[in-house]
Each structure stands twice: as C-alpha cells, then as structure tokens.
C-alpha cells in the first residue's frame, strides 16, 4: 500500500499557499488573455471555409474502370478484404483494348465494388495497382443513411459521370 503524505500547515503557510495559488493562476490567465489581441484565431469554420487537402491525402477510393485490367492485385493486398472484383473472358474475336499506359485489357470487368464502410484507407491497394487506375480521391464527404449505401459500384453510370469531380488531377 502506498504511503500517503499528510501535510499539516500553519496559518502563515496556509495564507502563503493561497496567495501563491492566486498569483500563479493570474499569471496563467494573463497568458490566455494575451490571445485576445496578440494571436490570430486558429479554428477553421469548416463548412464555409475549407482547408486544401495535401496531394497525398488518402480519402475515398476511386477506380477508373476504363483502365482496370481485372488483375485483382488490389483485392489481394487489402488487409480487410473490402474490394470485390468479378470478371469474365471476352467472347472470341473481340478487339482487345489497351489502357492509357499501354497494358492490354484481356478480361471483361463485370463487377468492381468497394465497401467503404470496411475500408481502412491504408493505401496498400493503390500501391500495387499496375495501371494506376485505383487511386485515393480527395472526396471525404460521403456519409450515408444505411450501410448498404457505403458500397460503391464503380461500374455504375452515375459514378462514371462523377469521374471528373472526384479523380485526383
């Protein structure tokens, strides 16, 4: 059991402690009071004023499906398994398209869904992507009412339409 130190003080010591308590507190209050005119406010009034995010900021994932070659490397690297990919072979005789960095697209991507409710924004999937189509966008305001709405299907037409807004330039 730890020993408690009980101190008894005389009347003089009592008032000396009281005075020093008031004095040191006033000193601290003076530091705070200086903030009235000497220091600029540091708070950012968020919805009206927004900070510019750094280039490397890792926000919602975005997959540019036109460049995706269905290699599933991102799904394998994901530590929480939140990327769902499905693909099938092209019918014979189809012309093989190429991605923007020249890789042939041999498989037809039928599903590319990311469950953002599971995603931990670690960025491991973007580092393994060979065509650099999977990137972190700067979009962080995507709260939803149900957990199903957090699943993003990147083949859906509305997300493809938003591409210009959420892709990092």
């Amino acid at each position: 059991m730890s020993a408690q130190v009980h101190q008894t003080s005389s009347l003089k010591e009592y008032f000396a402690a009281l005075a020093s308590g008031v004095f040191t507190s006033l000193k601290g209050m003076w530091i705070t009071f200086r903030y009235v005119w000497a220091v600029k406010p540091v708070s950012i009034e968020y919805p009206e004023v927004r900070e510019v995010l750094p280039d490397r900021a890792r926000m919602r994932l975005f997959n540019d499906v036109q460049n995706c070659i269905s290699c599933t490397q991102c799904a394998m690297a994901c530590p929480v398994d939140c990327i769902y990919i499905a693909s099938e072979k092209f019918p014979e005789g189809t012309e093989i398209k190429k991605t923007s960095n020249g890789q042939p697209i041999r498989l037809h991507l039928t599903q590319f869904t990311i469950d953002t409710a599971l995603c931990c924004y670690c960025g491991l999937c973007t580092t393994v992507c060979p065509t650099e189509c999977l990137t972190h966008s700067h979009d962080f305001e995507f709260s939803a009412y149900t957990i199903d709405q957090m699943k993003y299907d990147y083949l859906a037409p509305d997300i493809i339409a938003w591409r210009d807004r959420i892709v990092k330039s």
């Binding site: 059991m1 730890s2 040191t24 530091i31 900021a57 530590p79 931990c120 670690c122 960025g123 972190h136």
Partner: protein, 391 residues
C-alpha cells in the same frame, strides 16, 4: 469482500478511524467505461469509503479487437494498418517497432536516410503524443485552456504527417525496409521552424500549468509509484523514469542510429513532492519534449539525399524462427514477439507487449487510501491508451 482479481484483500477496508467505529459499508462505484477521466473505455470498479478509495479494480477488454489473432491471417505488409491502431496516438512508433522486428528477421539493410527520417517522424510523434498527454491531463485536473494550446501545436505535427504520408492519425507510413514517401526540403524546413516554435511554447506551458500552485497541490505527493513498485510490476517509460530510474532504451540499448545522437534522459526529481508522484511523471514528459526537439535538430543536420527503401522481396516469406524486438515508445517499452514458420506468408504468432497494460495493473496497488479526485489525477498521469491495453 469478493474481488475478481487475486490481489489480496485490502488490509484495512476503511482508513478513517471514525467511520470504522460506525461500521460503515463500502460503496461500489463504477468509473467508466464511458468516463472522460479514464481516457477511453476503461472501467474501474472503485470501492469507496466516503470519498476515500479503499480498493480499485480495473476491468479491461472494452476495446479488444482480436488484433493478435487477426494478424495471424493477414500477410506481413497488411498487418501494418492494424499495428497503427494499437496506440493510435503514437502510430509511427508502433509501425517502426513492427517493421524493425521484420527487418531484423529478414536481415534487410535499411538505407541511412530512411533510418534518419524514421527517427525524425517518431520523435515528432513523441512530441504529439506528449502534447496530448499534457492537454488531457490538464483537462482531468480542471484546466481547459492548456488542452486547446496543446492541440493547436499537435495539429501542426499532424498536418506535416498528413502531407508526407496521407493520413492524420493512422499513417501506414513506415514500411518494411524503409519508408513510403520521402520528405521534401520544404517540409524539413517547416519541421525546424516548428522546433523553434515548440521550444517557446514549452516554456509557456510551464508557466501556465507546471508552475501553477493549484496544479502542484493536485499532483505533488499524489499517486506515488516508487522505484520498487515500478520494478516489481515491470513499468517502463515515463512512469519508470518519473520514479527516478534512468532507463531509456534509446540510450541503454541503442537501436537504429540513436547511438549517434546527443540527448539526455530526464528523470523525476523531488522538486515539489516525493520522487515517483504524478508531478514527476508529468514533468518527465514535458522534459522529453525538449529532448525530442534536440534529436530532431540533429537529424535535420545529418540528413543527406539518398534512397528511402531497402531491398525487400515482393512476396515476403520469412525464415522459421522467432524474434523479440522492443522500442522506446512515448508510453514506455513496446515490444513485438514474432514467431514465423517456414515459407508462410503470415506470422504464426504476433504477441504485443504493451506498456500501458503494465501501468493499468499498477492502479490497484496505488489507489487504496486516495481521494477519488486524486485517483483521477493518478489515472491521468500514467497516460493510458486503451487501444494498446486491450489490443
């Protein structure tokens, strides 16, 4: 009295002679899991006699996320985001300890620039963590403004980390074999500017809080963890140094490049109370901030351009064996015990030795005889992070 932990009955349930004659009963009070003074989801069952704590039993496990078991099913690189979430206030140090364990096992040579930048980021993280400890400790004791000052400066560090790694809290920045991204010269200049500001700011904190008579009265002679208790329980970090023992792994068992740096280990001195009380633990943290600034300045002088990633195979397969690596984190010695099997992509076992768990287990020893308000001061002074206690 029934206790769930076998820590012995309190020798004397009441320490107040008058109430003992009245045969008063002990009152059970639950502090937590949602209590601001417990810094997370820690429940402390307190048996009180009027306002005096007779017995305190911490109940941990409210933030248990099966991290150790989960790590056995993920590849080595994928564990890093989970390791971040152990001590979420000092995620860089957690990553470094884990990466160091794997590098030691692989025998990877980490480039010099990467090692120096790791020291830089981890010392910045130590400052951020201690600022958080300082702010919330003042908040526990009823001072609100120091918390805002501390967060203002912590925010500057987090902003730097966000620019360099992409995230503010859970970075996944220190990788096996090196670092993810390099720091630019402009960012390093901002770090040295921050160091100059922080030194001035630390003086302000001393004037604002450390020298305040009310703060001293609340913390000096309160919650004394003397050196014998610390060694018996296995405490480390600021708790051990606050008790007067000069033990810091960065100095005593230098890992990485710490042997090249010139810095002191602050220890607790009986300035206002006895050695090992809350004031000493608080003061050790504040002095460590200044020492970290010294290290950061030396790192910036030594930095030279170079690679930041060593040679690591794309698919990690470790040899069979086990390793125990410990590093000095802001809260004490954190260690990873890693056991691997031949040609497995996942660890066989990953055991985390967390300093906060040790410190929480010291609470039942310190608490008896304290006032409840002093008990809050004691819990705040050991600076626990429940993510690390429960894992």
């Amino acid at each position: 009295m029934q206790t769930r932990w076998d820590i012995g009955e309190p020798e004397k349930p009441t320490i107040n002679q008058d109430t003992e004659q009245l045969k008063s009963e002990l009152l059970v009070l639950n502090m937590g899991p949602q209590h601001p003074a417990t810094h997370g989801v820690l429940r402390i069952e307190i048996w009180t006699d009027s306002e005096i704590v007779a017995h305190a039993i911490p109940h941990v496990g409210y933030l248990h996320r099966c991290m150790e078991k989960h790590a056995e099913n993920i590849d080595f690189r994928g564990i890093i985001p989970f390791v971040d979430r152990l001590d979420y206030l000092a995620a860089m140090n957690m990553e470094w300890t884990y990466a160091a364990a794997l590098e030691k096992m692989l025998g990877t040579e980490v480039p010099r620039r990467a090692e120096l930048l790791r020291i830089l980021t981890c010392e910045l993280q130590r400052i951020a963590s201690h600022l958080m400890a300082f702010g919330t400790y003042a908040l526990d004791l009823g001072a609100f403004t120091p918390f805002l000052y501390a967060f203002d400066y912590r925010e500057k560090i987090l902003r730097l980390f966000e620019e360099v790694s992409g995230a503010r809290l859970l970075y996944n920045y220190i990788w096996i074999g090196g670092l993810w991204n390099d720091w630019t010269n402009e960012q390093l200049e901002r770090v040295s500017a921050f160091c100059d500001d922080m030194e001035e700011e630390a003086k302000k904190y001393h004037e604002l809080v450390s020298m305040n008579k009310i703060f001293i009265e609340r913390t000096a002679n309160v919650g004394v963890m003397n050196i014998d208790d610390c060694l018996t329980y296995g405490a480390s970090g600021p708790v051990l140094r606050g008790a007067g023992m000069k033990w810091d792994l960065r100095k005593n068992e230098p890992y990485s490049l710490y042997s090249e740096f010139d810095f002191d280990i602050p220890v607790g001195e009986a300035e206002h109370g006895v050695v090992g009380d809350c004031w000493n633990r608080y003061m050790v943290r504040m002095k460590e901030v200044v020492q970290s600034i010294r290290i950061i300045r030396q790192v910036i002088e030594k930095l030279e351009p170079g690679p930041i990633m060593g040679k690591v195979p794309k698919v990690l397969k470790l040899p069979e064996g086990e390793i125990y690596v410990r590093h000095e984190c802001p809260r004490g010695e954190l260690a990873f015990h890693l056991v691997t099997k031949q040609d497995e992509k996942m660890p066989y076992r990953l055991k985390v030795k967390s300093p906060c768990f040790t410190h929480v287990s010291m609470l039942p020893h310190v608490a008896p005889g304290q006032m409840i308000a002093d008990f809050v001061a004691t819990v705040g002074s050991i600076d626990i992070v429940l993510g690390e206690v429960d894992r």
